[in-house]
């Protein structure tokens, strides 16, 4: 579903992502971990087509994101770290705009809008202007909009920021259900507990390079630290050279 083929991205002399090769199959929930400045956001932005790779190619459902971004975007849903909404649209109007943008038939769009409003408990304020929403409400609306068209691939950048515990539970349950149905999830997060709880595989990125790729069990095996927590393993892997965890 998602393929990174020797992807490199530079910012002037600095290499943010270096020769990343990664394939994520259908129905997998993949968590990308790494310290600040590791290249996670650059990877996500390339995956949604905002940034072009300096070298290499990224494909979503077989569509190259640089050569055919429109076709790739039909399969994508994206939840950014900061919600982008129109302040002067109501939540419902925003959902309809997104549904229309994906060319969904009117009847189906209406059903999906109602479905997501119910899933994310947006009913109370769906007809208020988005400018009056709190950060958590905005984030829930963005989640709802990203799932409207039942995307094959959902990309989440720090998805739980601003969400209350109840909304976090809603999102987790929804992600589990959707991945069981075959949706692929690519998630960047700092919340190790969430990665441990939900991810089928994790990737740990350090200074633009994928330092580890595999399951949590494989990580424990590789680090020969059978009983330790993911936090300890993570700190071990991402520690600056020459220092301990």
């Amino acid at each position: 579903m998602i393929e990174f083929d020797h992807v490199t991205r530079t910012y002037g002399p600095k290499t943010a992502v270096s020769d990343l090769t990664l394939a994520i199959p259908r129905g997998e929930l993949f968590a990308l971990l790494g310290p600040n400045g590791a290249g996670k956001t650059t990877t996500i932005r390339m995956l949604v087509g905002l940034l072009h790779p300096t070298r290499g190619a990224i494909r979503v459902c077989g569509h190259d994101l640089v050569k055919d971004p429109g076709a790739a975007h039909l399969h994508l849903g994206y939840v950014p770290d900061e919600p982008c909404l129109y302040d002067k649209l109501t939540g419902r109007e925003f959902l309809w705009f997104i549904a229309d943008m994906f060319g969904m038939p009117r009847r189906l769009a209406g059903e999906r809008v109602d479905r997501e409003i119910e899933h994310f408990e947006l009913g109370e304020f769906a007809d208020d202007l988005a400018e009056s929403y709190s950060l958590g409400m905005k984030q829930r609306l963005v989640f709802a909009s990203s799932l409207l068209h039942d995307p094959d691939v959902l990309i989440l950048d720090e998805p739980m920021v601003g969400l209350d515990p109840r909304s976090v539970r809603i999102v987790k349950d929804l992600l589990e259900a959707r991945t069981r149905e075959g949706m692929t999830v690519f998630m960047s997060t700092h919340t190790l507990a969430m990665a441990e709880e939900m991810a089928d595989r994790v990737g740990i990125m350090v200074r633009g390079q994928l330092r580890f790729l595999g399951t949590i069990a494989e990580l424990r095996e590789q680090m020969a630290l059978e009983s330790t927590t993911l936090e300890r393993l993570y700190l071990e892997l991402t520690a600056p050279r020459g220092s301990g965890p």
Binding site: R9, G12, A71, M101, H149
Partner: protein
């Protein structure tokens, strides 16, 4: 794992028409909601904008009717030259302004980031942002151009088709420079991202050089023969450069002149109307062609440019004024140190915010350019003094727009950082005083320098210069007091956008009070001086006024007027600041 329907079953790539309609619907909804919330929340501002625009339009219209009646009788060919010069200048300004607006909308807005992650065509996103940019461009253009064109039609006795065609001509024209601005913006960002600042600077410099050259060639060596036949001849020869037939401004001017042409008996001339329609068609066709070209460029360059721009590494800047900041923060008594540090912090924010200092530089720079050219005209004492006071009013009005736009929101903007300031050993009064001093000193230097320049160019006496400088001092003090005081009295601590804060009720009130204060100061100072100078210049020819006016024309009235100006300045400073300080002390963040 249950099978999922293929995306093609539920989603599809929209057709051009459907996508275009969707964006149009979005624009209409956003415009309607914006208007609705303006009507609900900013009625005062909306009314003020409408009334002032109406007054501005009417004043310009009256001025142009007089001018066209005079010029038409003098030489009909002058009108064509003036139209060409006016529209070609506006054309250049529209290219730059739309280019800058498109840059902000397409590359720096969160909306663009959202749209680029959706299956939207780049050319449609361009068209969507273009509609937004062209609205801003057209508004100013129509406000400036329509009174002139309406006045010309009235002065010339044009038939009704001229008035009907006026707006379509203007709209068709605006699309051309606006599209050029959009195309230049996308090309620069995509293929020359590092060069865009240099290219923009080069373009602005070239435009300034041309403007200065035109101004210089018109007004140089003209101390003796300004407004003479020779001066007119030389000016026309210089302006003839704007009459190139390939310029859209020439098509617009020619089309409008043809549309205004009538038969000898004053009735509609059909051949002239047909000619005008041909020019309109030429403008429309070129506008459409440029839109197609812009769409093609967007398809090729938009995503690429966005990515290239995001990949730029900001150069590590040197901070050459760091030592000045350190000096300012460290000098003086220890008790005043928090206040000075707050001023240094605001100074740094001002220096690093291009939108603030560039507007400051442009407005005061243009004013300076105009003042430098004042020497070209010869005036008698009374006339020069009147121009001096008008210049004082202009300086005050420009300063008031800055104090309203940038100083008024300063206290509100501290709202998000209130926890920092709240935990520091800083008294709340010091926050308010620091904003006042920052605004007062920051406004005083350019305003007093500009007034000195204006007065020297007008050849005014030292007494008049001192009087203007005192008025300027009071204006800077009062305007800063009004903006800071009202900003502290009515803070909006939840809003992060300074534009939204200044456009609210408090900001509008600050602008209205500032304008009234400027008018009061200028009228109080100007009337006695002007009457006195008229009496001394005209001598016996001056019809002596009676009563209060007679006293006002005397020498003591000028002195008393200055005392009143000082009192007005003190009231405008102290009262709002007192209200603001009292309210800010009680504020719960």
């Amino acid at each position: 794992m249950t099978p999922r329907p293929a995306p093609s079953d539920t989603v599809r790539y929209l057709s051009f028409d459907a996508e275009s309609r969707l964006f149009l619907r979005l624009r209409a909804t956003l415009a309607w909601e914006t208007l609705r919330s303006m009507l609900a929340d900013s009625r005062l501002r909306l009314t003020l904008v409408a009334v002032l625009s109406g007054l501005f339009w009417a004043a310009l219209y009256g001025l142009f009717v007089e001018a066209f009646t005079f010029l038409d009788a003098l030489h009909a060919g002058v009108i064509s030259l003036l139209f060409n010069a006016f529209f070609s200048s506006l054309m250049i300004m529209l290219v730059f302004s739309t280019g800058i607006l498109m840059y902000g909308g397409m590359y720096c807005s969160t909306e663009a980031r959202l749209l680029l992650t959706l299956p939207a065509r780049p050319e449609m996103i361009y068209a969507h942002k273009f509609r937004e940019a062209i609205w801003f461009s057209t508004w100013g253009f129509v406000l400036l151009g329509s009174p002139m064109l309406a006045a010309y039609g009235v002065a010339r006795g044009a038939a009704w088709p001229y008035f009907v065609l006026m707006l379509p001509f203007m709209l068709a024209f605006v699309v051309i420079p606006a599209s050029l601005g959009g195309i230049c913006c996308m090309v620069l960002v995509a293929w020359m991202p590092r060069l865009r600042v240099h290219a923009l600077s080069l373009g602005v410099t070239a435009a300034c050089v041309v403007a200065i050259w035109l101004g210089w060639s018109m007004f140089s060596h003209t101390r003796i023969d300004t407004m003479s036949a020779a001066w007119f001849e030389r000016t026309f020869a210089t302006l003839a450069v704007t009459e190139q037939k390939l310029l859209p401004s020439w098509w617009l001017s020619s089309g409008l002149l043809e549309a205004a042409r009538t038969q000898r008996d004053g009735s509609l001339s059909l051949p002239a109307l047909a000619e005008a329609l041909k020019f309109l068609a030429l403008l429309v066709a070129n506008g459409m062609m440029l839109q197609l070209l812009a769409g093609w460029v967007a398809r090729l360059a938009y995503r690429r440019g966005y990515s290239a721009l995001a990949g730029e590494v900001p150069a590590r800047r040197r901070r050459p004024l760091g030592s000045f900041d350190r000096f300012l923060g460290g000098a003086g008594f220890a008790t005043g140190r928090p206040l000075r540090l707050l001023i240094v912090k605001d100074l740094r924010l001002f220096r690093r915010d291009i939108s603030q200092w560039s507007q400051f530089l442009i407005f005061f720079g243009l004013l300076g350019l105009y003042f430098v050219n004042l020497r070209s005209f010869n005036y008698n004492n009374a006339y020069a003094s009147m121009i001096g006071y008008l210049n004082l009013a202009v300086v005050g009005l420009i300063l008031s727009t800055f104090t309203t736009r940038f100083v008024y929101p300063m206290i509100s903007l501290e709202g998000r950082r209130f926890w920092i300031l709240g935990l520091l050993p800083v008294h709340r009064d010091q926050i308010v005083w620091s904003k006042f001093l920052f605004s007062f000193v920051g406004g005083l230097l350019p305003c007093c320098s500009l007034m000195l320049l204006s007065d020297c160019m007008l050849g005014l006496s030292w007494w008049m210069i001192a009087q203007h400088e005192l008025c300027c001092l009071m204006l800077c003090m009062g305007l800063s007091g009004i903006a800071v005081g009202l900003g502290a009295r009515m803070p909006d601590l939840r809003e992060s956008s300074p534009a939204k804060i200044s456009s609210g009720f408090g900001g509008t009130l600050s602008l209205v009070i500032s304008s009234l204060f400027i008018m009061l100061v200028v009228v109080v100072a100007a009337v006695p001086t002007h009457l006195f100078l008229l009496a001394s210049t005209l001598g016996p020819a001056f019809s002596a006024p009676e009563g209060l006016l007679a006293w006002a024309a005397g020498p003591w009235a000028a002195v008393l007027s200055l005392v009143v100006v000082a009192a007005l300045g003190a009231v405008a400073t102290v009262v709002p600041l007192w209200l603001g300080l009292r309210s800010f002390r009680r504020l719960e963040a």
